[in-house]
Symmetry: C2
C-alpha cells in the first residue's frame, strides 16, 4: 500500500474535501451555551454520517450533556485512536466579525487562501484533515492503513463534563496502541511541531454579594460596601510587582525547566517580538526573569477571563450594585494539582472578604498538565516524515494551552498520546474572524497520510 497515489488523490479531491468542511462549519455547535444544544447534536449526526460514508460503522453515543461520536475500523498493523472535537467557542463579540461566523467562506488574503468561520481551525478543520486522509487512503487502497478508532467529543470548549465518565465507562472499547490528537499548531506558523508538554487548566467563577439589592450610590455611597470595589481589590492582589501569582502554595509542583528542554527551546529562536506584535503588543507580560517560551509553555498563569458588575449599558447609572462576579482560570504545569489550586484560590479570596460580603462559586473544569512519552516509536516516525511535507524539520515543542483529554487518555486509558496539528498563530481561534489556511488543511491531510504510512510499517 504505497503513499504516493494517496497523496495524489488528496490533491485531486481537495475541492470536494473543502466543501465537506464548509458544510460542517455551517452548524453552530457552541457547546457552552445551552441555546445551541440541538446544533451540537446536529454536528455529531453530521460526523456519524460522514464516517459511515467511509464504510466506518460510527455511532452517536449520548451523554448527560453533548454526545460523543465513536467509530471503529479493523485493520493490520498498530491500532491508533484519533481524537478531535466538533464543538466550537461562542462567537461574541459578534460585532467584531466581518461576516456571519457560521456562514463559512473561502477567501484570498495577502497571506494566502483561508477558510473563514468559527471552528475552521479549532477544531473542525483539523479534525477533518484526519478524516480526509483516511478517505483518500480508502479510495486508493480500498482499506485503511491500520486499525483505527475514531473518537469525537462535543464538549471540549465547555470543560468536557462527560469525558471522564465516558472514558471510564468505555475503557476497554477505547483501548489502542496510541492516541493521535489534531488540535494544535505549527510552531511560528511554519515548523511542524509535535507537542510534548501541555498546561493544565482550572476554571473558577466567583460571585460576590454585598447589599441584598442594588442601591443609589448617593443615598448609600460611603456607608454601604460595594461588591465591585471588593472584587477589584481582591483580584488586584492576584500578582505581585514581579508578575508572580500570590495565592499561597500556587507554585507547589511547578518544576524548573530541564536544561535539555531549555536548550531545544532556545534552538527554536522564538521571535516573541513578532508573536506579540501580531496582536498589538510589545512586552512579554509574565513573571520577570522568564523567557517568553517559558511564560507560554512551562510557567503557570492566572487569567481573569471575564468580569461584570453594576451598570454596563450606554450612559451612566449611579448604582451601588448588589453583585459582582468574575471568571478566573489557571493554566497549570508540572505536578500542580487543579483541585488544590481551586481550594487554595477560594481560601485566598475568602481571607480577603470584608464584613457583609458573601461569596458563591461555580466550577468550570479542572485538568492537570500533561507530559508526553516521547520515547514511543510513533513520535520519531511522525517527526521523520513531516519535514518532507512542510520544508522544515519537525520539532518537539511545549504548548500553553490545555488539552485535558491527553491527560485523561494517560490516567484513565493508560495510553500515550501524540499531539500534532496544522493551525497557525494568526488563526484567531476563540476570537472574531477565526480562519484556517487552505495550506493547513491541504498539507494537513497529506501529513496525516504520511504519518499513518510511517506508523503502519
Amino acid at each position: 500500500m504505497s503513499l504516493d497515489p494517496v497523496l495524489s488523490r488528496i490533491d485531486e479531491t481537495l475541492p470536494a474535501a473543502m466543501e465537506r468542511l464548509l458544510d460542517l462549519l455551517r452548524i453552530p455547535s457552541i457547546s457552552t451555551d445551552p441555546a445551541y444544544k440541538a446544533d451540537v447534536d446536529r454536528a455529531a449526526d453530521w460526523l456519524v454520517s460522514d464516517l459511515r460514508s467511509l464504510g466506518i460503522p460510527a455511532e452517536k453515543r449520548e451523554t448527560p450533556k453533548h454526545p460523543m461520536v465513536v467509530g471503529h475500523v479493523d485493520g493490520d498493523g498498530p491500532h491508533v485512536l484519533f481524537y478531535g472535537h466538533y464543538d466550537v467557542q461562542p462567537v461574541d463579540p459578534l460585532e467584531l466579525w466581518d461576516r456571519d461566523p457560521f456562514d463559512p467562506i473561502v477567501e484570498d488574503t495577502p497571506k494566502g487562501r483561508v477558510i473563514r468561520a468559527r471552528g475552521a481551525s479549532d477544531d473542525k478543520g483539523q479534525l477533518m484533515t484526519f478524516i480526509e486522509a483516511c478517505r483518500a487512503w480508502k479510495e486508493v487502497h480500498g482499506t485503511l492503513p491500520c486499525k483505527i478508532t475514531f473518537f469525537f467529543e462535543g464538549e471540549e470548549e465547555s470543560g468536557s463534563p462527560s469525558l471522564v465518565p465516558f472514558l471510564e465507562a468505555n475503557k476497554d472499547e477505547l483501548q489502542a496502541d496510541i492516541a493521535l490528537i489534531c488540535d494544535t499548531g505549527l510552531f511560528e506558523s511554519k515548523v511542524p511541531s509535535i507537542m510534548t508538554q501541555l498546561r493544565g487548566l482550572c476554571g473558577e467563577e466567583i460571585t460576590l454579594t454585598g447589599p441584598d439589592k442594588d442601591l443609589h450610590s448617593g443615598m448609600y455611597g460611603g456607608a454601604a460596601i460595594n461588591p465591585i470595589r471588593v472584587l477589584t481589590r481582591i483580584l488586584g492582589n492576584l500578582f505581585d510587582d514581579a508578575g508572580r501569582i500570590q495565592i499561597p502554595h500556587f507554585y507547589d509542583g511547578v518544576p524548573e525547566l530541564p536544561e535539555d528542554i531549555a536548550a531545544q527551546w532556545d534552538a527554536l529562536n522564538f521571535d516573541h517580538g513578532t508573536f506579540l506584535g501580531d496582536v498589538g503588543l510589545s512586552q512579554p507580560a509574565g513573571e520577570k526573569g522568564r523567557s517568553p517560551l517559558e511564560m507560554l509553555w512551562s510557567q503557570p498563569t492566572a487569567e481573569i477571563n471575564g468580569i461584570i458588575g453594576g451598570y454596563t449599558g450606554d450612559g451612566f447609572k449611579t448604582v451601588l450594585p448588589s453583585k459582582a462576579s468574575a471568571k478566573v482560570s489557571f493554566r497549570l504545569v508540572g505536578q500542580q494539582d487543579p483541585h488544590a489550586i481551586r481550594k487554595n484560590f477560594r481560601a485566598w479570596v475568602e481571607a480577603q472578604l470584608p464584613a457583609d460580603v458573601k461569596i458563591s462559586y461555580q466550577e468550570h473544569g479542572a485538568s492537570p498538565a500533561s507530559q508526553m512519552t516521547t520515547t514511543h516509536p510513533a513520535f520519531e516516525q511522525a517527526r521523520s516524515v513531516l519535514g518532507a511535507e512542510w520544508g522544515h524539520e519537525a520539532a518537539f515543542t511545549g504548548c500553553g494551552g490545555s488539552i485535558p483529554v491527553a491527560g485523561y487518555f494517560k490516567s484513565i486509558l493508560e495510553m500515550d498520546t501524540m499531539l500534532v496539528g496544522w493551525a497557525k498563530d494568526d488563526d484567531q481561534i476563540h476570537s472574531p474572524n477565526e480562519k484556517y489556511d487552505v495550506e493547513s488543511f491541504h498539507k494537513g491531510i497529506r501529513s496525516w497520510a504520511r504519518i499513518l504510512d510511517a506508523i503502519k510499517s
Copy 2:
C-alpha cells in the same frame, strides 16, 4: 386665602390625583438610553398639557437632547421657581422586578399602601405633589398663592448635559426669589427634612485596551497582558486599608464638619444599624473613624458603578480579552472641584498603566457640592409648618446624593434653593421594585400647600 379648605380639597381629590400620577408613570422616560428618546418627549408633552389644564401657559422647550418644560403663572407675594425632573433611571436588572416597571400599581404592603413603578418616588411622584397642591389651591381660591415658575427637566438621570446651557440662555426668564426642589426624602422615613448640604458628583468611564483582539488564554496566557488584570489592579488601589481614597489631592477642599452641624446631626440619633440592616448589611464601609452620617453626608466617595470585560455569558470561555472598562463616580463635598478630581483620577490611572495598555475616557457629568443659604426666610417658614403635617419637628439635614441643579441655580441664576421632599429610605429608587408611599404622596401634597401658604404671607 385660607389653607384649611385647600387641605380638605386635597383629601377629597386624592384618588383623581393618584390616577394622574399613574398616567405619568406609564411613560418609560429613561433619559440615559437613546432607545427611549420618544418616550422622554412624551412625558414632557404630558406635563405641558397637565399644567395647561391648570390654566398655566406651559410649553416644551427643545434642547440638543431632551426637552425642558417651562411654565409661568403670575401672582402676588414672593416669586418661587419649582423644579422637578420627569426622566427616570434604567430598569435593569429587569428580572428582579416583580412586575413591569412601567405598569404602575397601587398595592397594600405590611408598611402601608404604595404606588409601585419606576419613577414613582424619583422623581415623578414628588414632582406631582407640588402640581397637585397648586391644583387644589387653584380649585379652591381660583388662583395660586404666589407667583410661580414651573421648570421640569428630562435629563437629570443622565448627567443633565443641556441644563447649564439652558440656564445660561434663559437666565432672566428663570429668575425668582427662591427655587424649590422636591427630589429628596424624609429623614429615617419619618422626620420632614430640609436639606442644607448636598454632595457633588463626577462621573467617569475608562476603557483599557491591551491586545488588539481577543486572544486564546492558552496560546497567549502568560506572555500577553490582560486588560482586566490591569483594570482590577488599578481600581484595587482606589482605597487604602482605612478606606481612604488614594488619588493624589482627592481630599483638597474637603472641610472637617463644623461642631454646630455635628451637634445637630448627633441630635438626630441616626440608627445606622436599621439603615444598613434594611439592605442586608451591618458594618459602615466608609473611612475608619467617621460616623455613618459623615460617611453619607459630609465625606466624599469613590464608587465603581459598573465594570465589564471578557466573557460574561453562561458557561466559561478561556479568552484573554482585548478590552475592559469601568464606570466610576465620585461624590464630592465642600470645595472639591469636579474637574480637578477628573484630571487627578486620570493622572493616577495613567501612572499605573503598564506597557502596551492604552486607555480611553468618557465623561459622565461633573457638579460641585452645594451648601444652602439657611438664613433665607423660606427655610424657617417651611420648617415651622411641616411639623404639624408629619408629627415630627422638621430638621435641617445633609444629603449624600447629588442634585447638581441646586448648585447651578446658585452659580448661574444667583438664586437660593430649598430642598424638601417626601421619599422614604425603602423607596428603592434606582433599584428594582421602586415605590412611593401613598402617605408620601398625600402628605406631600398637603405639605406643599402648607409651605406655599407660609411663604406667601
